[in-house]
Each structure stands twice: as structure tokens, then as C-alpha cells.
Amino acid sequence: MVMAEAKTKQGSSRLKDANSRKILDQYSRAKRLRKQLEALEQDNFQEDPHIHLNTPNKKLPQFDADEGAPTKKKRKTTRGDHFKQRFRKTFASLVEEEQMSLKEPPNYMTACIPQSKFPARKFCSVCGNPSNYTCVTCGSRYCCVRCLGTHQDTRCLKWTA
């Protein structure tokens, strides 16, 4: 009995292994892809090197300033703020505004090139060579057992970018 159990266990270890492995559903795969594409649009990967610097606070009272100066300064900043408010828009809100404005067809949205007629080529996510295999778990491509190993050890389900 015990022997038999052990034997079945041994025989199906690979199958069991495959079954127990988590498989990403299409939504998380799509989300992952979107994150990857967003990363390609980033200006910087690192954070601002000056962010932790204590910049001298300009609002500290200046005792040597004469009486008339502060009001003059204030007017100048409000002028700048006005400009900022009217034109400070993110890219997303600009696109939204364009969609709402119902301009006649040739515009930002209609100018996007459609999908290619040719099928997409597949490349190994590890080494970049043409690939024939897909990772069961996450859908990434790989070209050989070595690359699959690297992929599972590093990126499969551990996407951090």
C-alpha cells in the first residue's frame, strides 16, 4: 500500500509539479505587458538625485527686506500660478479633452497606425534569439532549457520592473 502510493507519487511528480504551478490568467498577463510598455516610456528609472536635499526654504522671513518688496513679489507669483493652472495638464487629460472636443477626424486618435498585417515574431525574453517555446506559467518566450531556467529563477512571477 505504502509502496504503491510512493510509486504513484514518483510517477506523477512532473505532472503534479506542473499542476501545482501557478498559472497567470490573461488579465494579469495583460497588466504585466502594459507595465512593461509603460516602462519603455519613462524619462528616468532612478529617482531625483536632489530630492533629499534640503533646499533653502524661500518662505522664511527675511528681516532685512524693506517694506514695499513683499507685495511686489506676491503679485509676480500669482501671475505664474495663473499660467500654471490653465495649462498644467497631463498627457492623459489632454487626450481626454481632445476626445470630448469632437473635432473633425484627422486628430491625435485617428492618426495612430493600425496593427501590422504580418504575424508577430517571437524572441527569447532572456537572450533575444528567435524562440519556439512559451513559458506555461507567465507566457514569456524562451528558446532553450538554459534560458527557461534563467527565466524561472529571475523573472517568471517575479516581475519587478
Binding site: L33, A39, F83, T90, L94, P106, C112, I113, P114, K117
Partner: protein, 401 residues
């Protein structure tokens, strides 16, 4: 310098601003960004000032443009003030007219802001806003062989536009955009190098130089792929690139194969990146965006697609005059690849001719210079007086952006 009324052409790209007086031979190229370095605390580098910085590792960028459109006005105005100021152009805006370029299909509120900034803040005498491609097409029309139609392919930092022109006028409903540009290529190269070899995610500046120095467009992609799998001397593609350390080496370079053995002991301390299939698989994204799952056509297919959108009579003339501009067309082999692929997809009875100008980056600036000498140029400008009289509406009327 600033005579009674001087004229300035500003091709305001997302990566470099090209600016110069209409009397200049060549424009000045100014980086359109503010950079911050790790080594220089409490100092920002506007435009090209970063050239004075000793240590350029981990350079941090503040960019005025996002996805090709002007979004960060604070940054842009600082850069413009620097450009117009003493350090670069030394302009007197009230005595100056200016031609400024914008991307295709620029958003309405950005256009309004442009008018406001140039008339109300800087107080230019007169302005003319247009697309960079329009200036390129203008120059193309004036220079031999003086074709009537021109297919402008402008592959820049943020994206690539395919724009057909007829007699200097753009065919608006046949302009298409591919969301692949130099920035995406650099970021992709950064990403794959960081995964495969060395963490360089913070080194946008350095990796951009690597891209410019060793990447090329392959005309035989799959055979080249096979070559990169070979070892030793048979692999004619692989290059070792020495990264700068900003101590002894200020700029990276390709390691010379022949001197490798002699300088071997010195090489131990060098940081080297091995560029193998990365050399051509990165620019390949311009031709197959689907390689990184961007569901769009590549440049040659897009050219054929766009030509298919115009009237049949115009098509052979467009195939005959395809003009490549923008920084990406500097990749070695770019022109040959476009020519080959378009030829393969175009109808047999049409001639295909692709032109790569000597200086594709400043081509449209030169077009602007030519345009400023045109007879009807004055009529196409909006003067400050007109703006004060009619406001934004006259700009909408006069400018074809």
C-alpha cells in the same frame, strides 16, 4: 547682431531644439531638457550646460515633452529662457520674428498656450507656427529634382510620423503615427542590458551614446541573428563597448579588436558591455514594433499603408520621393532597409526612391530658413498687433498645424 528685425527659426524637438537666425548657415543644437547630476548638488543643467559637468553618471532628466507633446511648461520655459538669453542666442524678442515647429495634431490647449507664451510673455514681434515636416517638405520641393509630392518620414525621439505632402501641403487624413522613437529604443536597450549583463537602468545618457555608437539596422535580420550565435572570430557582429567611468574615460568607445591583447592588463579595470544581437535588434523595433508587443506597423509597412490612403494619381509620385528625417535615420543601414522593404511591398510598376539627406536632424530647420525667404512668408505670420486685435482666432486661421 539684433538688427531692425531679425528672424529666428526654432525647430523645437522633444530631444533637441534646433535654433538659429535665418542668416545662419547651421542651427545650434540645444538639448531640450534640464539635467541633474548626482555629483553636482544644488545645481541644475539647462540645455547644453551639462557638457561642463564632470561626472555624468546617473544623469537625471526633466523633459518638457511627454509622448511627443509639450506638457511640462515650467521646464520648457526655463529652457527657452536659456536659449533666447545671453548664453545662446541673445535675442531681443520685440524686434524678432520667429518660426516655431510643433508636432502633428498638437492639442488645442497647447496651441493656445504657445500663442500666449510667445506673444504675451516673450513679446515676439511676429510668429509663424508650423509642423517640422512641413518645413522639410518645403525644402524638398525647392531642391532638385523638384518633385511635386513628398512622403516625409520623420522618426524622432518620441515617435515616428509618416506624412504625405502634395505641393508643400500636407494630406491631413493620410498622416499616421508610429509610437516608436529614439527614447523607446534607448529604454529598451537599457532594459535588456540590465537584465542580461550589467545594471544600467540609471544611465540613460550613457546608454543613449552606446545606442548611437554601435547600433545599426540590419538588412538581413535572421542571417545576422545566426551570426551572433557563433563564437570567436566567426562572429563578425559582436562588439565590446567600454563604458565611461568619468575619471579617466569621459566618453565610451568601441574596444579595438587588434589592440585588445596589448592593452589587456589595463583592461581589467574597465567596465565593458558586450553588444551582440542587441546591436540590431534594438533599431529593429522601428521596423517591427510587434517585437516588443506594440501592436503597430513598422515604418516600411506604414509608408505603404499611408500611400494607400491618398488618391491613386498621387501614389506613384509619393513612392518616387520618400524623404527620411529625424535622428533615427542616422542608424547605419536605415535607408537601405526602408528602400528594400518598401520596394518589396509596393506595386511593381511604381518606382521607389528613398532619400536620406546629409543632415537629417537639421533638415527641417534648413527648410524653415528657406521658407523665411519665401515671397508670401510675411502674410503667413501673425504679428503681435494682430494677436492683440483678434486673439487666438487669427492664429487658428493662419497656422496650419
Amino acid at each position: 547682431m539684433s538688427s531692425a528685425s531679425s528672424l529666428v527659426v526654432l525647430d523645437n524637438g522633444a530631444y533637441t531644439a534646433k535654433i538659429g537666425f535665418s542668416s545662419d548657415e547651421e542651427p545650434k543644437l540645444i538639448q531640450n531638457c534640464i539635467a541633474k547630476a548626482k555629483s553636482e548638488r544644488r545645481k541644475q543643467f539647462i540645455g547644453n550646460q551639462y557638457e561642463d559637468c564632470r561626472d555624468l553618471s546617473g544623469l537625471y532628466y526633466l523633459l518638457p515633452f511627454q509622448k511627443g507633446y509639450l506638457v511640462n511648461w515650467d521646464v520648457q520655459r526655463q529652457v527657452w529662457e536659456h536659449i533666447f538669453g545671453k548664453e545662446v542666442m541673445n535675442l531681443e524678442p520685440p524686434e524678432t520674428s520667429i518660426i516655431i515647429t510643433e508636432p502633428y495634431f498638437n492639442f488645442g490647449s497647447i496651441q493656445d498656450a504657445m500663442n500666449e507664451v510667445f506673444f504675451e510673455e516673450y513679446q515676439f514681434q511676429a510668429i509663424h507656427r508650423t509642423n517640422a515636416g512641413t518645413l522639410s517638405a518645403f525644402r524638398c520641393k525647392k531642391e532638385p529634382p523638384k518633385e511635386l509630392c513628398c512622403m516625409v518620414v520623420d522618426s524622432g525621439y518620441s515617435f515616428t510620423h509618416i506624412a504625405p505632402y502634395y505641393d508643400g501641403k500636407k494630406v491631413g487624413n493620410a498622416i499616421r503615427r508610429i509610437n516608436v522613437g529614439g527614447k523607446l529604443l534607448t529604454n529598451h536597450l537599457k532594459e535588456i542590458l540590465s537584465y542580461r549583463q550589467l545594471h544600467v537602468m540609471d544611465e540613460t545618457y550613457v546608454i543613449n551614446q552606446v545606442k548611437e555608437d554601435v547600433c545599426y539596422v540590419s538588412s538581413q535580420f535572421m542571417p545576422d541573428m545566426e551570426i551572433t550565435k557563433l563564437k570567436g572570430a566567426e562572429n563578425t557582429i559582436v562588439r565590446d563597448y567600454v563604458l565611461p567611468d568619468f575619471q579617466q574615460i569621459r566618453r565610451g568607445y568601441v574596444k579595438d579588436e587588434s589592440s585588445a591583447s596589448s592593452a589587456n592588463e589595463q583592461c581589467v579595470s574597465l567596465q565593458i558591455i558586450r553588444m551582440n544581437n542587441e546591436r540590431f535588434s534594438v533599431p529593429e523595433l522601428l521596423f517591427n514594433p510587434s517585437d516588443v508587443s506594440i501592436q503597430e506597423m513598422g515604418i516600411p509597412e506604414a509608408i505603404v499603408h499611408c500611400i494607400g490612403l491618398v488618391e491613386e494619381e498621387m501614389r506613384p509620385h509619393l513612392y518616387k520621393n520618400i524623404l527620411l528625417t529625424g535622428g533615427n535615420s542616422l542608424f547605419p543601414g536605415f535607408k537601405e532597409r526602408v528602400e528594400r522593404d518598401v520596394r518589396a511591398m509596393a506595386p511593381l510598376n511604381y518606382d521607389v526612391r528613398v532619400t536620406l539627406p546629409e543632415k537629417p536632424i537639421t533638415y527641417s530647420w534648413q527648410g524653415g530658413k528657406l521658407f523665411s525667404a519665401a515671397e508670401n512668408f510675411k502674410e503667413l505670420c501673425v504679428t503681435k498687433k494682430e494677436y492683440e486685435e483678434y486673439g487666438q482666432s487669427i492664429c487658428l486661421e493662419k497656422f496650419d498645424v
